[in-house]
């Protein structure tokens, strides 16, 4: 295939994509001249170029469509449903032909006579008398524009103006039309706009981008190694720091180059929904949000199918037929919401409908019926865990199999495809209210932040995304830190029991699971899809940005590793899959997460909640706003020094005023060995330390309202259903030096 044809194919695809978007919009705003002009232009460009490339069949079809569009554009025909269906048929026909050309280099011998006839028939209704007169007019109008159209119009899709000019030149004689027709209203503006965009952008082959990404991955690895190797040499520090910065920048740029807005796939949905609702007899309104959210190109490709499946499912199983909706007291027109939002290193795509939801009971019964689970076990499972069954291949609660879905393949495909790219699928459903499917997609596949842990004298990488906290167990606590229920190891984390998984024991079956006496032990508290557990490791190394390398199938089959990576010290490390470890160890979803999820909405509605650190001082409980807590330190009481009567702490070279409302310092003063717990908080620009007896928990606090007043009560919060006083940080008296500084600060301002 020659370059010109290839270029034409790419352009035409883009044009047709635009046309598809406009057509679905046209259905809502039938008279919109701008939309009609856009559609007309797309078909017109195709027709113009095909004539010159010699694709007769394509030209004929495009011509038939153009005539119809001409009538529409001139307002001589109403864009009703039949017309739009016809135009969508035209779109499909054009796509089909383009596909054939792409695959075979020729147009094939399929005839579009029927479609052309249909398009022609659409031009006639109720206006038969004017047809004779108008059709030639539309043609005549179209012709001159063609020559003109290939010139200034193509640059919007054509990155090489030279080529466009060439097309224009060659087209002019063939079409034999004077290039003088006035451009359609509104199009000139679009042309200039997109024209400049075309000049500053260029098409790049995806394989080249992939290669660049791989090379950047290599560079990141080399940088990590250089950084470690030169850490000791002061002469190289500056250089390696510069290398570090440049690498980070380059990585970001290459990643950005691969980003595309999710609107690329969202824009396919209106058509799918339109066609489906017609064939299923549903009425649905589509709402889209966050279309500008960007995602790596390969990931975008990968979620196209799962997303389509999810949308089909939502429409077929979620949204009920209009009559049923009306009977249930809902708007007969259902709402399907597509929402994309970036959350940290992930993009979350939500497909939610306000349909019937999934009846958990049905899922439970089906699971038992299919023998996936025993009846006793099913009774124990939480709703959220039961819902996971809909991802099992062949699982469907649909009573009837429709030609759209219900065969039970859909959700399985959704999950497999999303997990393949390192994403996660969550489902949330309320009977009668609707279902929300959440796809969590990593921003990029290749490079992720990870914590490096040591076990079995080997390094392993734990994706930082799953890590919620680290617990250090000093040698003196080794003997008492782990508690056992029979053979289940548990750790008491802020008063709650956390199931433990010993990494060495898991990787080497038969090895005794215990903390190593006489040295430090560490627990990495992981949260994998709601499964919370502590992973016991021998040691921790620095977190690193790791480049994920795929593993061979044999090693992937082990199931515990999601990949491998090369560390800064040139050592290889396996990347652990926290979800798989949790599953293998039998950790189930915690009830805590479940309750949290359930109450989330209500809390959001009822009151703005804040998280507090619950502390105890001298037998009284108090709350410190968690957002203000910087660190929690355990230190010997001897480190507290005094300026006059004021206790202060030399904390990392800074002087910290210490608040001791519970007189804990006085109580501990007699024993120089005594340890105190200090909560280091931020109060505006300064830091203060608060001495407490224990740190109890972190909890959500609710606002309290004074009886009869609508004003929020200050200084107290509802924590675990108990009214708790909030520590007033600004009440901590500043040290004299701070006062001076504050005064100075005020003056300069």
């Amino acid at each position: 295939m020659d370059d010109l044809t290839r270029e034409f194919l790419i352009e035409s695809q883009e044009g047709l994509d635009r046309m598809e978007r406009c057509l679905t919009m046209l259905e809502e705003r039938p008279g919109d001249a701008g939309l009609l002009a856009e559609i007309f232009r797309a078909v017109h460009t195709i027709k113009g170029t095909t004539g010159f490339l010699g694709f007769k069949r394509l030209e004929k079809l495009a011509h038939a469509g153009e005539s119809l569009l001409g009538l529409l554009r001139d307002g001589k025909l109403e864009a009703d449903r039949a017309v739009i269906t016809g135009l969508l048929g035209l779109l499909d026909g054009l796509r089909e032909l383009l596909k054939t050309i792409e695959a075979e280099g020729g147009e094939g011998d399929r005839d579009n006579a029927e479609l052309i006839e249909r398009l022609e028939a659409l031009q006639t209704p109720a206006r038969a008398e004017s047809r004779q007169e108008r059709k030639p007019r539309a043609k005549a109008e179209a012709k001159p524009e063609q020559a003109e159209g290939s010139g200034p119009q193509t640059p919007e899709v054509n990155p090489t103006p030279a080529q466009a000019a060439e097309v224009a030149q060659t087209t002019a004689p063939t079409q034999a039309g004077p290039a003088q027709a006035a451009p359609e209203a509104g199009s000139s503006k679009t042309n200039t706009l997109t024209g400049t965009a075309a000049e500053s952008t260029l098409r790049v082959d995806v394989t080249l981008l992939n290669r660049m990404m791989n090379l950047v991955g290599e560079l990141v690895l080399t940088r990590n190694q250089v950084l470690q190797a030169t850490a000791a040499d002061p002469n190289l520090t500056m250089l390696s720091r510069r290398l570090d910065m440049v690498t980070a920048d380059l990585r970001e740029s290459v990643m950005k180059a691969r980003m595309q807005p999710v609107s690329n796939i969202f824009s396919k949905m209106p058509r799918i929904i339109r066609d489906l609702s017609l064939s299923l007899g549903r009425r649905a309104r589509l709402q889209m949000e966050g279309q500008e959210t960007e995602l790596d190109k390969s990931l975008l490709e990968a979620i196209k199918d799962p997303l389509t499946h999810a949308v089909r499912n939502a429409l077929d199983h979620g949204i009920e037929p209009p009559e049923a909706r009306e009977a249930a007291g809902k708007d007969p027109e259902g709402t399907l919401k597509l929402r994309a939002v970036q959350e940290g290193s992930h993009v979350v795509i939500e497909v939610s409908d306000d349909g019937a939801g999934i009846a958990v009971e049905k899922v439970r019964n089906k699971a038992i019926e299919r023998g996936l689970i025993s009846a006793e076990r099913a009774a124990q499972l939480a709703e959220r865990e039961l819902l996971q069954f809909i991802f099992v291949p062949g699982f469907s609660t649909a009573a009837a199999v429709t030609n759209v879905s219900g065969r039970g393949v859909g959700m399985d495909v959704v999950r497999t495809n999303v997990e393949k790219i390192g994403g996660k699928v969550e489902i949330d459903s309320r009977v009668g209210k609707g279902t929300t499917l959440r796809l969590r997609i990593p921003l990029t596949l290749a490079i992720i932040p990870a914590l490096i842990v040591r076990s079995l004298e080997q390094s392993f990488a734990v994706p930082q995304g799953a890590l919620s906290e680290l617990v250090h167990i000093p040698p003196e606590r080794v003997a008492s830190a782990v508690e056992w229920i029979e053979n289940a190891p548990l750790y008491r984390l802020r008063g709650r029991l956390l199931p433990l998984v010993f990494l060495d024991g898991m990787l080497m079956p038969g090895r005794e699971c215990k903390l190593v006496a006489g040295r430090d032990n560490f627990i990495a508290v992981l949260d994998a899809e709601g499964r919370r557990f502590g992973l016991v490791v021998d040691g921790l190394a620095d977190p690193e940005e790791i480049v994920v390398k795929p593993l061979s199938a044999v090693l992937k089959n082990i199931g515990l590793y999601s990949g491998a990576t090369v560390l800064g010290n040139a050592q290889l490390a396996l990347i652990l899959d926290p979800g798989a470890i949790a599953l293998k160890a039998g950790v189930t979803m915690s009830a805590e997460g479940e309750a949290g999820d359930g109450s989330e909405d209500e809390q959001n509605l009822d009151a703005i909640s804040r998280e507090y650190l619950l502390v105890e001082a001298a037998g009284r409980q108090a709350a410190v706003p968690l957002a203000d807590v910087l660190r929690i330190e355990q230190l010997p009481v001897s480190r507290i020094e005094y300026i006059g009567y004021r206790p202060v702490l030399n904390f990392e070279g800074q002087l910290l005023p210490v608040e001791d409302t519970g007189d804990i310092l006085a109580a501990a003063a007699g024993d120089p060995e005594a340890q105190i717990v200090m909560v280091v908080c931020r109060d505006g620009n300064r830091h203060v330390g608060i001495v407490v007896s224990h740190v109890l928990d972190v909890a959500d606090g609710g606002d309290l309202f004074e009886a009869g007043a609508s004003q929020r009560a200050d200084g107290v919060t509802l924590l675990k259903n108990r009214v708790t006083g909030v520590v007033n940080l600004s009440g901590v008296q500043p040290l004299a030096i701070y006062e001076n500084a504050a005064a100075e600060f005020a003056q300069t301002e």
Partner: protein, 159 residues
């Protein structure tokens, strides 16, 4: 070079096979050089806990992580030294490394000296070996990279 000698050479290479000799334990093995991408000297592979026994670990190779197959484990011999040479082999399922004691010279052997696997060979070895070439004073046991592919080994070992 005249056209005649070119044809002659071609005929010669048709009958002859170039084989890279490797030593594992006491035996000399051969791998057709067409399947060898590279020979990596002395690296210590990173072990993979829970991996099947025949997996010798992972090595870093040209920006990729390569799974290696331990011929020692497959043949039940202990390596003679702690560091081993790695042959990077190409197979339909992708690349993998083969751990051997040492890599020797490339031998040119003639098709005429080839004999298939003897019938008295145990089944496990019969599955790994692809016949042998009779050298002047010893035998060169041929290894078939395709049969050594970790994926295939996984299938045959499990069966």
């Amino acid at each position: 070079m005249s056209a005649k000698t070119l044809i002659k050479r071609k005929q010669k290479t048709d009958a002859a096979v170039q084989v890279c000799s490797v030593r594992v334990g006491q035996t000399l093995y051969g791998v057709p050089i067409a399947h060898i991408l590279e020979i990596v000297g002395s690296e210590r592979p990173q072990p993979v806990p829970l991996a099947p026994g025949y997996v010798g670990g992972l090595v870093h190779y040209r920006g990729d992580v390569l799974t290696t197959v331990s011929l020692f484990h497959l043949l039940g011999v202990t390596p003679s030294k702690s560091m081993q040479d790695i042959l990077v082999l190409e197979s339909p399922g992708g690349c993998f490394g083969l751990l051997v004691d040492s890599v020797g010279e490339v031998l040119t052997v003639s098709q005429d000296d080839y004999e298939p696997n003897p019938s008295i060979l145990d089944e496990r070895r019969r599955a790994l070996f692809a016949g042998a070439y009779k050298l002047k004073d010893s035998l060169l046991v041929m290894l078939d990279p395709e049969r050594l592919d970790p994926l295939r080994l996984g299938a045959t070992q499990a069966a």
